[in-house]
Chain length 453, copies 2
């Protein structure tokens, strides 16, 4: 039997491509070497959200205690949390497996490789060969390391190992001040860990707006984190049951655990991709405007390296499934992709930052801003640091960035606003609820504009 579609990888991109294609009536096989749900469900977004959710009372109490309005103690039982997370993930995987069955999709468990125009899967019961009309590569990504920063699984951990810990360390060094490292550091902080963050760049969250980095840094300082910037790490090792980080200045930092979160790279090696005519660049699958890597071979999500976010992978997957089913022959159009750092404070971003707007349009790029200090919901949660910034080009909204209490709730309306290219008049037409954090977005939209540059 020849499948209409074989998908390699059952993360958000692969799963959605398979489900959509089956919904369109295609015969589909989904190949997964480990867990349904991939990194996002099993070792990424979902477990960190369970950790942040379980500890959110710690932060809420802390803020009210600062105001002398509340007192007490919230104790989170880490082993109980891990047991709950494990059960939750298993339950979600089971629900996904049932969905596949209901859709008539064959789940093939094993490592899939391309060979002679077919997919060879190394399963527990030997090799299984799948013939296909179309192939979707959704192989995802894995943590990457600079030489000397490899985790040893003892006291030096990557994010997978960190999420699998049985107890929370009392001191933690995080190498890499991006969203992954910062979310995990924040959870450790809520468990009372002493946190040190090390980054080679000159600011935390170096991919975000510099003002966002500044706001985050000021919160971390209040939390008494050690934030070490512009530091190069020479090596990390486990010595006498402790993690030891050595800077290139030979200075040493010791902690119970060291989390290396310097980035993730595509999983594309050893899959026979080049032999099948797929081009790789820096391990990323090169795709054209139709997300096609070679005739009848597509790549979605982290594998093509466009953007490492689950919802971007899913959006690409919906397109590819529709294309394979003959529902569209237009090139892929992404639209603005939102990104979120969860926790407290949160960060959200969609569309352009001001420097990007300036580069594409230095004549009319503008920003407008609202401070959370003026927002009643931020005030009610005693967490008023932060702001919402709107980026304009030619009088239309091209980007929104925010940092502070609960700003993740701005991201969907902001995505719609950027996608629709709102003018300030559009903002006047829509009624925002009062009181709400959402009003800070309205205030920013209506705020005084300043030229960028």
């Amino acid at each position: 039997m020849t499948y209409d579609l074989v998908v390699i990888g059952a993360g958000p991109g692969g799963f959605d491509a398979a489900a959509d294609a089956a919904g369109y009536g295609l015969k589909v096989a989904l190949v997964e070497k480990q867990f349904l749900g991939g990194t996002c469900l099993n070792r990424g977004c979902i477990p960190t959200k369970l950790w942040l959710g379980a500890t959110s009372a710690v932060e809420e109490l802390h803020n009210q205690a600062k105001m002398k309005v509340a007192s007490g103690e919230v104790k989170v039982d880490f082993p109980a949390l891990q047991a709950r997370a494990g059960k939750h993930l298993a339950g979600t995987r089971k629900a996904m497996a049932m969905q596949l069955k209901k859709l008539g999709i064959d789940l093939i468990e094993g490592t899939g490789r391309l060979r002679d125009g077919k997919v060879s899967v190394e399963t527990g019961n030997g090799e299984q060969v799948l013939e296909y009309e179309n192939l979707v590569l959704a192989t995802g990504s894995k943590p990457v390391f600079f030489p000397g920063l490899e985790p040893d699984g003892d006291c030096v951990l990557d994010s997978d190992m960190f999420l699998a810990m049985e107890e929370m360390p009392r001191s933690l060094v995080v190498i890499g001040a991006g969203f992954i490292g910062l979310e995990m550091a924040q959870v450790a902080h809520r468990f009372g860990a002493k946190v040190t963050v090390v980054d080679a760049m000159d600011r935390v969250a170096p991919l975000e707006d510099p003002e966002v980095s500044k706001a985050l840094a000021s919160v971390f300082k209040r939390w008494k984190w050690d934030v070490l910037l512009e530091k190069r790490v020479a090596g990390v090792t486990t010595e006498g049951g402790k993690g030891v980080l050595t800077l290139d200045t030979r200075e040493k930092i010791e902690a119970d655990k060291i989390l290396v979160a310097v980035g993730r790279g595509p999983v594309t090696e050893g899959l026979g991709l080049e032999q099948a005519g797929v081009e790789l660049m820096m391990n990323k699958v090169v795709v054209d405007e139709n997300l096609m890597a070679a005739p009848n071979i597509y790549a979605v999500g982290d594998a093509n390296g466009h953007i490492q976010l689950a919802h971007a992978a899913s959006h690409q997957a919906h397109y590819v499934a529709a294309r394979i089913a003959g529902r569209t022959d237009a090139p892929y159009e992404s639209g603005p992709v939102p990104s979120v750092l969860y926790g407290a404070p949160e960060v959200m971003r969609v569309g352009m930052m001001d420097n990007e707007a300036f580069l594409t349009d230095f004549d009319t790029a503008e920003t407008s801003k609202a401070m959370l200090a003026a927002n009643p919901m931020a005030q009610a949660h005693a967490s008023t640091q932060g702001f919402v910034k709107v980026v304009w080009s030619a009088g239309k909204v091209v980007g929104v960035t925010a940092v502070g209490h609960d700003v993740s709730r701005l991201v969907t309306p902001a995505t719609m606003i950027v996608q629709q290219g709102w003018t300030v008049e559009d903002a006047d037409k829509t009624i925002f609820p009062h009181p709400s954090l959402d009003e800070s977005l309205l205030m920013a939209l209506k705020g005084e504009r300043t030229r960028v540059g």
Copy 2:
């Protein structure tokens, strides 16, 4: 001197009308008999949000404790909270006064009445008479009572008195299961009070979708509230330091305090409105499609009784100011008005409910739904009861209703979606962040549709 505009009432509607008009270059006087900010800031939305924010850790801890993931205790100091709220409100009023000054608006403190085509203000220093070209009535609303339900200020309270309490009662009876009563009852519950809710209707939140009422009732039952429905109250009194409610069956219910929250009515009596040619109906100022009550006299917000929500008042105020300034002569168009019950669970609604859609369009009215049980953020906060329901008419979204953890964050995107009349294809074009509670709205948009009726 004749003012271009005199505004009576400095709540959200009156303040915004004055501020906008001054921004358009008009000479404006704002008359306020008590506090800048009106009911919303001083005795309504804002203090309740401060209470809910201060106690949110109680609810978060409770949910995680149920999962045996967390333990401990959060104690909120009610007098400290009241002191903080008082300071906060005073600070906000001060900021508003400064904004008026900056805009060149004359704030006249006293009760304004219409007399001989002028506004007579009874101030602390005697009468002040204001001449005007245009007048905006933004006199707001106050609690109303059926006979026998009048508060005595001792153990029988209206919402104003409730918000001014110096200690939280250990037992509370709330008469009226609308949003105002339910938000306040929820705070009392978080302080450990024994809560009883009494309503004459057959369900809580009787203005909402019946499924929302059912979901709320099930949560209240778990919280061990006594919810007494279809009960008529014969009277409420204070007896021996306790509030005593008597049902028409002669059954008596006793509690430390009784909150009467059966509704609010416009403040329009004794202001000389009829003599000025303004028509009142059930105390509401009757306005035309331009929000005009008489030549050059407008009414916005609770005074015209269209909808008792601060953001609706503000939206009307923006229109009226623009109209008076000659910026528009089109009739007023509201667009969909969102409403929110804050706390945990939350409720949100915008546009039509399914019964409304069915009445206007019984051929194509449909609903689609997503359960929060499937949402990872609801799961992370161990609060998975609830749903999002989308109401369709002729294949377009005409309403969204939701109940459950954090659903207030859906209200702004839902408002935009209803306003824009999305089809299901529009939903496919927008990337929702993963994981997020927002995805439950996407799931509901893409869910299977069922005919209404």
